[in-house]
Amino acid sequence: MLAQIKKNMYESIWKSNPIAFQVLGVCSALAVTVKLEDSLVMGIALMLVVAFSNFTLSSIRHYIPNRIRIIVELAVISSLVNVIDELLLAFYFDMSKALSVFVSLIITNCIVMGRAEAFALANTPLLSFWDGIGNGMGYAVILAMIGSLREIFGSGSLLGVQVIPSFLFDLGYVNNGLMLIPPAAFILLGLIIWTFKALGGANGDN
């Protein structure tokens, strides 16, 4: 069991990373990665949704009528997303505003449905839960990478703390405005996928 979870984690983060290899969930990866904090919250939100939707769907997989399978999946996923959205509104209001529609758009994030269809319906609840954590982590890791790079070079800070020393600004260093707009995330994502592949990851081999 533990070995299986470990292998599953390794695969979903490194070998078949949902963003880098399967190229799923790219939309939000481009949109909410201006700051590391936003990226982390988004990553964690998605991880929780995939994990719990996988768990729930896997627990009731023998009872789901096949004809309405997809609708059941969507209903479970969208209620989980709604709950997360409500929690953010109640406890993390500014973040909820910063992430705006992208939290609700987790419903349509292909990673969630993809894992439900491909994994949860064929495996035990516990294994599915960890598969969700793994895939969510794969997504979160990429988001965190893009988020840190964009925040460092776009705003000179990391998690809101200035990291580029101010004497560099005195010497004429300026923040890169390109980093603040979505195309920068696209370019960075390309570079990250390239790095993954060059190092032997994201090739889908098992």
Binding site: A31, S79, N82, V83, E86, L89, A90, F93, V101
Partner: protein, 222 residues
């Protein structure tokens, strides 16, 4: 293969369970969410007038110290007792700023997909703009949603709603204000638009040509 009866039963049970869950969550969290929204509105009113409060905890206190909410009638008189913000009466906030006082009033208008809600802060004469904020809208992120960003809102600071004592509103240019034909006539009443969000920009322009007029009588009486 199970029959249709099972499918229908399953669907009903699922719907019941999920709706209970969602209604429950929303019911439990409602108080906190309402509180957050209230603080957010107060923060927006303050920040439209250029007062930024760093700590969420201090917002309510600062608001109570500096802001006085008033209602005015159509002909600009301050009303004593009013229940709702109807067509005939408008809400306005008088705010103590560091040096002087300012007025903030709510602005509402149509964007591309949604209604835009915000606050406009004007000087004591009601002519020059001190600041503007948008706190609720459903525009496209990255395009129309840019209206709530600092770069767009700070465009408005120092602009004037009146030219030669005539109300002109604020024009939102297509692209850079300097390249717009209206810039020559009204250099103090035109701001940069948002590229890729022409309809949202036009919505803001329209809103600023309608709402401030409703306060015209109030300011010209004082």
């Amino acid at each position: 293969m199970r029959g249709s009866k099972y499918t229908i039963f399953f669907t009903l049970a699922m719907c019941l369970l999920i709706s209970t869950l969602l209604a429950g969550t929303s019911w439990i969290l409602k108080d906190r969410q309402d509180f957050n929204k209230k603080i957010d509105v107060q923060k927006n009113i303050l920040s439209a007038a250029g007062i930024n409060v760093a700590n969420v905890q201090d917002v309510e206190e600062t608001y109570n110290q500096r802001v006085r909410s008033m209602f005015i009638s159509k002909d600009g008189k301050i009303m004593d007792t009013v229940a709702n913000d109807t067509l005939d009466c408008k809400q306005i906030f008088k705010i103590k700023t560091l040096t002087d006082h300012a007025f903030v009033y709510p602005i509402v208008g149509k964007g591309l997909w949604s209604t835009l809600y915000g606050y406009l802060a004007v000087g004591a004469s009601g002519k020059s703009i001190i600041g503007i904020t948008f706190y609720k809208h459903g525009e496209t992120p990255g395009l129309g949603a840019e209206i709530e960003k600092k770069w767009f809102c700070s465009n408005f600071i120092g602009k004037t709603l009146y030219n030669n004592d005539k109300f002109t509103g604020i024009f939102v240019a297509k692209g850079k204000a300097k390249n717009d034909v209206k810039y020559k006539m009204y250099p103090n009443s035109i701001v940069d638009g948002i590229s890729g969000a022409t309809i949202t920009s036009k919505g803001v322009e329209k809103m600023l040509s309608i709402v401030p007029l409703q306060y015209h009588n109030f300011f010209n009486k004082e």
